[in-house]
Amino acid sequence: MSILDIRDLVIRTADGRTLVDHLSLSLAPGERLGLIGESGSGKSLTSLAVLGLLPEGMTMSGSIELGDTQIVGASERQLIRVRGHDAAIVFQEPLTALDPLMRVGRQIAEPLGRRRGLKGTALKRAVTAALEQVRLPEPERIARAFPHEISGGQRQRVALAMALACDPRLLIADEPTTALDVTVQSELLDLLDALVREREMAVLFVSHDLAVVAKVAERVLVLKDGRAVEEGAVRDIVNAPREQYTKTLVDSARQLESALVQRSGR
């Protein structure tokens, strides 16, 4: 029984261009899949489609089964029930994902209040707990802060706390560390890894960076121009890519990495 099952997903723009072309993938509970591709490969659209969040004018066909819900053709009402509960998403840019006019604590309180029906002090305590679990120092202070008053890494932790607030069974992370400094990225990846392990949560990790995906996912699916190129264990894909495109991708990453290894000797 899989938590997410995508079959023959096709996403088209209003003027009929196909952006995602007969894509199929499935995720078992607790499994971590990396979706890798370059700009325009359709990786972000696929992740948005899972929560029925496609941009206006785009249409999808095929099948996306998330838990017990068929997302393709679902009503807004059904989608609201699914979002945050069956699957939640963390986006690339935490500054645009958070409401700039709302204190951080209230933004986390919203899903907690709605989903778990918490109020008053119980809600406040749950917010603090949510901030603590993403290892934010001084959770009370952060809860009172506005997004612009905290750093990029802290913001992304807040976004992660919001996504985890309702214990989703699947976490979708769309380039969650791309906007962060490399030291902050490394901390956040470790945190993400620990949190989903503890919760046995499934992860769909979208990224253009093979090395980053390798830190979180066990399996990867390589996308190009909306089509699946190759799928397999991270290690196999990186060390023995079968398709030409995957080879190019791996070689490029290797070429840069080897320059670093040569210069620094590590």
């Binding site: 980053v212 490029s252 670093l260």
Partner: protein, 257 residues
């Protein structure tokens, strides 16, 4: 040998603020020794680049070009400076005027520096575009017709058309996909080798730094905490921040079980 560019005890603070953005910076750029400026967001990398470009005047200290102090008001000095020092920015989508044809964009430095007219610039533009590996008809087209990697090539053509000695680049490949990134890194490498171009590059990507720069300076909170050859700095970091930076770079999984 006189350094091409030099920052001597430079500090910079925004007007009305007491805390400096960068402080006590001593940095030299020698011809043929490309330099990387490495550090986290807010460390002052871009401010340093702006100082080196003469876009920002230091609050204290001096910027020297060929041993001579850079006087932002002296047109003659600045004209010579601009011929020798050009720049490329991070985002090829916002750094090219969408309403100008590529030919006009690339010829701009030649015209602005009074080296050429529109007519006499044409063969130089064609050569610059060829050098960055773009087809001949590129000059007639508009920026939106090109991909991100091609646009960055156009930006590099514009920066190199007047035959500069130094190219200042602010994260020149970080907005590009990895396969494109490798190609642009190769192009910059080629420009270094074949045209003796010296790069001063701001980057947070240590593998790009290692690919292109002989020297590296590490910035933290507006100060240079470590500088030396790239091999020394990345291979045997002395400052804890540098060590953390090197350790944080995600690596591809190794072969074997």
């Amino acid at each position: 040998m006189t350094p091409v560019l030099e920052l001597q005890q430079v500090s910079f603070a925004y007007r009305g603020r007491t805390a400096p953005v960068v402080e006590d910076i001593a940095l030299t750029v020698n011809s043929g020794q490309s330099l990387a400026l490495v550090g986290e967001s807010g460390a002052g990398k871009t401010t340093l680049l702006r100082l080196l470009l003469g876009l920002t005047r230091p609050t204290t200290g001096a910027v020297r070009f060929d041993g001579e102090e850079l006087k932002l008001r002296d047109r003659e000095v600045m004209r010579r400076f601009r011929r020798s020092v050009q720049c490329v920015f991070q985002d090829p989508y916002s750094s090219l005027d969408p309403r100008q044809r590529v030919g006009q964009i690339v010829s701009e430095p030649l015209r602005a520096l009074g080296m050429d007219t529109r007519q006499t610039a044409v063969p130089k533009v064609a050569r610059a575009l060829e050098q960055v590996g773009l087809p001949a008809d590129t000059a007639e087209r508009y920026p939106h017709e090109f991909s991100g990697g091609q646009r960055q090539r156009i930006a590099i053509a514009r920066a190199t058309v007047c035959g500069p000695r130094v190219l200042l680049a602010d994260e020149p490949v970080s907005a590009l996909d990895v396969t494109t990134r490798v190609k642009v890194v190769d192009l910059l490498k080629e420009l270094k080798q074949e045209h003796g171009l010296t790069l001063v590059m701001v980057s947070h990507d240590l593998s790009v730094v290692a690919s292109l720069c002989e020297r590296t300076a590490v910035l933290e909170n507006g100060r240079i905490v470590e500088q030396g050859t790239t091999a020394e700095v990345l291979g045997a970091p002395r400052h804890p921040y540098t060590a953390r930076l090197v350790a944080s770079v995600p690596r591809l999984p190794a072969a074997g079980p």
